[in-house]
């Protein structure tokens, strides 16, 4: 294995871990459900893609890296669908997005409770 391949795979896995961490911090820090979904979905998508891509790079040109690439495609397709399903279900349930310049009563109604 060449040093370049090794270095790139380490960099990709490290960057992926960073984005996963950011996603987790975002879930805690952001104000409401919908913005938390942003953090959970986007950062994690790139995080998982980078980690798996880095592992495929480490593995080299083998059957195992082909499997990892299939997993990347699956994640890229399934994650946004999952985020959309969550957001849609929340809205159907009656949860309203928090808006800072809204009518002022938004903050108190975060628990939702039907339309």
């Amino acid at each position: 294995m060449s040093d370049l391949q090794y270095g790139v795979s380490i960099a990709m896995v490290a960057a992926g871990t960073f984005f996963m961490l950011v996603g987790s911090i975002g879930i805690i820090r952001l104000p409401d459900f919908f913005s938390r979904t942003h953090a959970a979905g986007k950062s994690d998508t790139l995080g998982i893609m980078l980690v798996l891509g880095g592992l495929a790079m480490y593995e080299g040109f083998t059957v195992n890296s082909a499997k990892l690439l299939i997993a990347i495609v699956l994640v890229a397709l399934a994650n946004p669908v999952g985020m959309h399903a969550l957001a849609k279900a929340a809205l159907r349930y009656g949860l309203k997005p928090w808006m800072p310049e809204g009518s002022g009563d938004n903050g108190a109604k975060q628990k939702g409770g039907g339309q």
């Binding site: 984005f19 820090r29 104000p31 957001a87 808006m99 109604k109």
Partner: protein
């Protein structure tokens, strides 16, 4: 036999399309490739088991794939232009990286500079497949999240107002429409910011 109706208990009525054996064959080849990658063994025994499984799955799928599940779910989906898709995927990947960096900036900023808003717009897309591609692309790109798609009306949650730019000026929806049509002008219309929660 070209277009008949079928009623499935508990699910409703569906249109049945004409069977296309070329589609079944392509699907079988893709499944066989998938089997070979996952199994990693290429002796006669494993290949023949794989071929048998692929045959059974293809025949079962050939029946399901004839059902038309949505009003706009026309075989036009097959007319996706693969050349443009090859250019679209790297562009989308770059957008995903930008999106994640932006979310990282917002999340790690001490004051969390977000001001979420909800955007409503119409996008005239040729078929259901295009709506799926656009919905997923919106979710993956900077600061935007598809909440709901009704017919051709999209409801999008936006994290920071600046990030909705490529939607409002129609860059991305037009790119998606071009995946399916020869040419497309701006397909976005009726952009509308939802300011009060009562509107939802």
């Amino acid at each position: 036999m070209a277009r008949s109706k079928i009623t499935i208990e508990g699910a409703g009525e569906f249109t049945v399309r004409k069977r296309k054996w070329s589609g079944v064959a392509v699907q079988g080849l893709v499944l066989m490739l998938f089997w070979c990658i996952l199994s990693g063994r290429y002796d006669a025994f494993h290949i023949s088991i794989g071929a048998l499984s692929v045959l059974i799955v293809s025949l079962l799928n050939a029946r399901i794939n004839r059902l038309q599940f949505f009003a706009k779910d026309v075989p036009e989906w097959e007319r996706i232009q693969y050349g443009r898709l090859l250019k679209y995927i790297p562009w989308l990947t770059w957008q995903i990286i930008v999106a994640s960096l932006q979310v990282a900036y917002v999340v790690l900023h001490p004051r969390i500079p977000v001001s979420p808003l909800v955007l409503k717009f119409r996008a005239d897309l040729p078929n259901a497949g295009a709506s799926v591609v656009l919905g997923n692309s919106i979710t993956l790109t900077p600061g935007t999240l598809t909440i709901e798609v009704r017919d051709s009306e999209f409801l999008v949650h936006v994290l920071t107002p600046a990030s909705s730019q490529s939607l409002v000026d129609g860059t991305m929806p037009t790119k998606v429409a071009k995946l399916f049509r020869k040419s497309a002008s701006n397909v976005v219309s009726g952009v509308h910011v939802v300011t009060s929660t009562e509107e939802l």
